[in-house]
Symmetry: C2
Subunit: 312 residues, 2 copies
């Protein structure tokens, strides 16, 4: 048995996970991200003990704990080198947790952990697997030969920060034109707002007014109801998503590519035009093609992936 | 001992290569690319025998032959699936060569083979290594854990076909906006010609007139002599190169990144602004940084890399 912990900016979620990636018991507590890391980790340890009990197990049954955390992670030493989200700098999380629970602890970047979770459950044991999340940002993870690919410095797989339009929209990372600046939910909301300003009488504008805000669903919902202005936003957004995926396909030619995050709940409505785009522009015209699908684990991916990365 | 063969559109070059990547004897013959593949491979076999003799060896001393070829290569079966350059389709090259020389034969895409050559000679045994060629096109190869990364279908590592500007310049691959359409020598020549039209009195225009053509060196040469219009071309070109490299760095965070191809002969004049750009925009701000350098093998990389990939 393993424990997987998803250390988020708002909550710490954790689960006891078996070898096959099944969650046996889970729970969560508020992160209280503004506190010193020692206090956060104390709560994390209590949560781990609680869910172990809930699963009918003892801590001695737990072979390892895996933690997925936002930010730059020193995987080798179990340190959060820097995280903007939870305000940590050079925080030795693994060692701190081991003060309370004496089992091996593995730390991963949260997107890498989620990729591992999707891989184990949906990857079908392939040798090359890419996971992309379309959320507040665009994140991703690379699983090659069944292992998370991290780069030599553990800072790799920042798939949202490949260029989509050189010198384009400003990105939160300080660069311009990153894929994330066009394909994240944040970007979709910006694109929707711009289109509403130009089309104040559109259904999209009315939906936004009714809801009191523009969300990542506004344009998709209006487009499905036949709004042409919304359809234009959706078409353009999906093309941005697909063109970034194309770069990743031309680099990796992965056997499987899985798309997760909030927007992935649009399902085939998102997936079909992406598949068509990749089919049309893929540099590979003669060999078997990448299999593209939608993630199925959603929020559990982080817990399961963190646990199974610790298994390694 | 191994033999490495660089099957080019114009010449077949081959060398006897030792375990450490040193060429002991080499030679070349015209490809005659318009001929049936059987005739081309007959000449290749004769060349292999000739250089083996030249190295003072027998064919029984050769443990394997590696061939680097342009196009889509089925590495597992030793087949050129499709090559535009040498007009082959589903050509079983490995089996054909073995009719004449009965040793194991390994086939690689030529850019992958060159990457392997640079890796062995300049890679310093790192676990993550990327090689980029700035030539007629932009090619590349990925060496992870000392092995060529090919993707599940052997069609990966098409690093020139990541997007630099969504819906930008047309690319030879049928897509628009690929990095290759901005960072290849072909693209640099296009950019230089456009600048000459706008600046007919520039030194760059005079150099082109004197040489009777615009080459990949025209803008670089004029810029070094203080021509402002040429400097603008060079600055913009290098920024295109650097931004594509940045995408690759943010994905792989490779320990070493080596730049080859014709343009790489500009050395530090090219390398210094690239290093500055990557330093400034690299998503990784807290962990050790990628080491970027210029290739040293040039034309021999293909022969050495093909031989050493066969060793695997």
């Amino acid at each position: 048995m393993y424990i997987g912990v998803d250390l988020g900016g708002t909550n710490i979620a954790a689960g006891v996970v078996d070898e096959a990636g099944k969650i046996l018991a889970e729970g969560s507590v508020p992160t209280g991200a503004e506190r010193p890391y020692q206090e956060i980790i104390k709560d994390m340890a209590d949560l781990c003990k609680e869910i172990t009990k809930k699963a009918g197990l003892e801590i001695s049954d737990i072979r390892a704990i895996g933690i997925g955390s936002p930010g730059t992670i020193d995987n080798e030493n179990g340190v959060v080198v820097y995280s903007n989200n939870i305000k940590m700098e050079h925080a030795p999380i693994a060692a701190e947790l081991q003060k309370y629970i004496n089992v091996p602890v593995n730390m991963e970047n949260d997107a890498n952990a989620a990729a591992m979770g999707e891989y184990v459950v949906n990857g079908g044991d392939v040798d090359s697997f890419i996971f992309i999340t379309l959320g507040t940002g665009v994140g991703g993870g690379i699983v090659l030969n069944k292992k998370i690919y991290r780069g030599f410095n553990c800072a790799g797989a920042e798939l949202g920060h490949i260029t989509l339009i050189h010198n384009g929209q400003p990105c939160t990372c300080g660069n311009n034109g990153c894929w994330e600046a066009y394909a994240s939910v944040t970007a979709l909301i910006r694109q929707t707002k711009e289109a509403i300003e130009k089309n104040p009488d559109s259904l999209m504008a009315k939906l936004a007014e009714k809801e009191g805000k523009v969300s990542g669903r506004t344009a998709f919902d209006a487009a499905k109801q036949g709004d042409a202005a919304a359809q234009a936003v959706v078409d353009q957004y999906i093309e941005y998503v697909a063109d970034g995926l194309l770069s990743i396909v031309n680099i990796f030619q992965p056997e499987k590519l899985v798309i997760g995050g909030g927007i992935s709940k649009e399902g085939d409505y998102l997936l079909n035009p992406i598949r068509e785009y990749i089919k049309k522009y893929d540099y590979n015209k003669y060999m078997p093609r990448v299999d593209i699908s939608i993630a199925t684990l959603f929020n559990d991916a982080g817990i399961i992936g963190a646990a199974l990365a610790a298994k390694q």
